[in-house]
Assembly symmetry: D2
Homo-oligomer: 136 residues x 4
């Protein structure tokens, strides 16, 4: 259920924010403000070690001996948490693997750390997202 | 080809770094330092609007009218850049869609902004990654 | 001049945001939302290389030979931009120097980089702030 | 005491890192790598709620009724932790106040939150720094 309330903002700041809203393709102020608020809430979920969603992305050279095998082995230790893995062949050498994970923030972070630390991983990222429950 | 060189570090700082390496499951100092260096390099690729990889993750309620359709429409405008989309049903209401994109940093950012701004998106993230070419 | 307008938010998200507001000691929703909006605006000023304020903080061991001298020399190259420097003796060895700078974002960043790179600097930070003009 | 050790890095990555080192005015690789390592260590001090240094910067309009008074009142609640405050008159309206604080990470964060939340503060920043002890 949507709840309506009013806020006040300095006129010139509001003008600049309206330009920002246009530039970022938001339909209206509510949408843009909602997004700012949700970002804060997602951050809090992670700080409080709540149940979260994480998206781990790894870039690596598939010629690296046994790396793909190790990536799979580590994932098996967390198989209850891993929802899906997508593998992309970027060029002759480089692959990307994107792993969607659900779990306590600490566990998801630990999995991301273990994968990123594997020898041969060229870039490892963890995007901190949400199950959406606290954002509804 | 690996190149070996030596660096010097204060002994007590090195001890703390060695603990960090253990805690983050790195095999050795080279691996850990390589990771720190690569992070800097990926950041520079994005700042210089180079060819990059991005991973966009969206959380939304699939009951939101026509949202899935709009997500698909926006993606079509960037279909040359989108490599894959993975859709996850998280619970009765919430979905996650993870979109792997290749393109100039500015374009990838723009696509992420447009998707995140759609009405009904509960969380939108862009993980800034790399094609791996500059990291080899 | 304050301008009043209304926005709508999902009720449960609003409840969580109200808890956040309490936890962060804001007087009301307008204050909290205004802060989120301003953060976005400050970030944009820096991205657009506008006139900004930066606060550079350096931690170093004052026993490091000639370091204080070099810190001063670098600052002289930017003396038109530096408003003030505060020096703090933290313990027997460690000092902190906090330098308030006004200038184009790129110049302020460059000064921060040059200072941080000096041999013996243990920690260098740049806080990206604003002249306040775009935030009123 | 400095300790010397060797690491190995892919040749082409090392070349790019050497360009970065030049661009950021570091004297040598040790300096640049030391900085990356220290950043990680400072972050860990804050995460572990250790004794840290923080630099809070506030931008505000000094015409805002009773704001300067409130800024001072809040600071008094933390006077054991505040080392110095510097006040800068930026233009006819805008002031900056930079407060150097020593304490447990959580307390420093709380003070920064309380100050930033005051009505009339246009921008509030907390730079997370270190007492330097863990970085030596």
């Amino acid at each position: 259920m949507l709840k309506r309330f009013s806020i006040s903002l300095e006129e010139s700041l509001l003008e600049k924010f309206d330009q920002y809203i246009l530039g970022h393709q938001y339909d209206n102020r509510s949408e843009a403000i909602r997004d700012l608020i949700r970002k804060v809430m997602v951050r809090k979920e992670w700080d409080a070690d709540k149940q979260v969603m994480g998206v781990i992305s790894l870039v690596f050279d598939h010629h690296e001996p046994r790396l793909q095998e190790k990536i799979t082995l580590v994932q098996h230790d967390y198989h209850h948490h891993i929802i899906s893995s997508t593998h992309v062949h970027m060029d002759h050498d480089n692959c990307m693997e994107v792993i969607i994970v659900k779990g306590q923030a600490g566990e998801v972070q630990e999995l991301a750390d273990r994968l990123t630390a594997l020898r041969g991983i060229r870039d490892g990222n963890l995007a901190m997202s949400s199950t959406g429950k606290s954002l509804s």
